[in-house]
């Protein structure tokens, strides 16, 4: 269960430009499925309900990515993950139910008109220690250096969007002085496991760093944190 000690990072990006993201706060069945009573009240009092919906959504998703790392069998019931804002850009996610009840995870939002991005962090590290980036997939201005993917990377990256998120993570790792890395997700019983960093060609995972990947629509995101 997330708590003090070893840090874990999660992140989630939502493309606010996708047609299905617009006016979703008016989808009563959807919001009742994923939000609890306090979150519904927050959304209904907001001048921009869609913005609040996707803030809450991204925080829950980012927090679950942390929980899942420490409990591979964790069940994700969105309403059991309560998002509590402490400011316009920061808050916590409290896990209210299931085997991870009591977990508390710090979150930080970074939004533009086009996308919502949320970072999540558990443990003793500071949110400022997270290296994160969001990119627009296939943006004409984006540089595309040739990338050589290993077989084990390609096995667990099933789309161009997931490769884009991995590319971002490789850049973050390089900037952090980790050199060339591979990023692998192993299958688990219920879903694919979290992304794991390996120094290129090494059999054992790289110690001391944790990684999170996300993509949605035209956006990819990655976050890297010392643990």
């Amino acid at each position: 269960m997330p708590g003090p000690g070893r840090s874990s990072v999660g992140n989630d990006v939502v493309d606010l430009g996708r047609p299905e993201a617009r006016n979703k706060a008016e989808d009563e069945r959807f919001i009742r499925r994923v939000l609890n009573a306090a979150e519904l009240a927050w959304l209904r009092s907001a001048p921009d309900p869609d913005q609040v919906l996707w803030m809450i959504w991204a925080a829950k998703e980012a927090a679950f990515k942390i929980v899942q790392k420490q409990d591979g069998g964790a069940v994700f019931a969105h309403r059991s993950y309560e998002v509590l804002p402490s400011s316009e850009t920061r808050g916590t996610v409290e896990v209210r139910g299931g085997s991870n009840r009591g977990a508390s995870i710090h979150v930080e939002w970074n939004a533009t008109d086009l996308r919502m991005h949320c970072l999540a962090l558990s443990g003793s590290a500071d949110l400022k220690s997270i290296r994160a980036d969001v990119s627009e997939i296939d943006h004409p201005a984006a540089a595309r250096p040739p990338v050589r993917w290993s077989d084990r990377e390609l096995l667990s990256a099933r789309s161009a969007e997931s490769l884009e998120a991995r590319l971002l993570a490789k850049r973050l790792a390089s900037d952090a002085g980790l050199g060339s890395v591979e990023i692998v997700r192993e299958p688990r019983a219920r879903r694919l496991g979290p992304p794991v960093l390996y120094a290129a060609g090494e059999a054992a995972p790289l110690e001391g760093w944790d990684l999170s990947l996300s993509h949605d629509g035209v956006f990819a995101a990655a976050a890297l944190c010392p643990v």
């Binding site: 959807f30 499925r33 069940v75 019931a77 219920r190």
Partner: protein, 86 residues
Amino acid sequence: MASDTKDGVTIEQVLEIIKPFVKNTAALENTTGDTRIMEDLGVNSARLVDIVLEFEDKFGVEIDNDSADRVQTLGDAVQVIQEKMK
């Protein structure tokens, strides 16, 4: 496309509901029970909630959060719906 039946619910029925949400339409050409709805078909997590709600309407079942979380592959979807229809 795979043809798989579990006590009356077929992958084809499930796919008909999922298709409008699929981004990676090329993957629809070669689906099996192991096809992952999010990773292989390019469905995002919010749309997966919409899909579960559509399952409820189409099959007249109620899918609780624990069961919804089990819906990761097409085979999972068939199995969960079938369980709820009993």
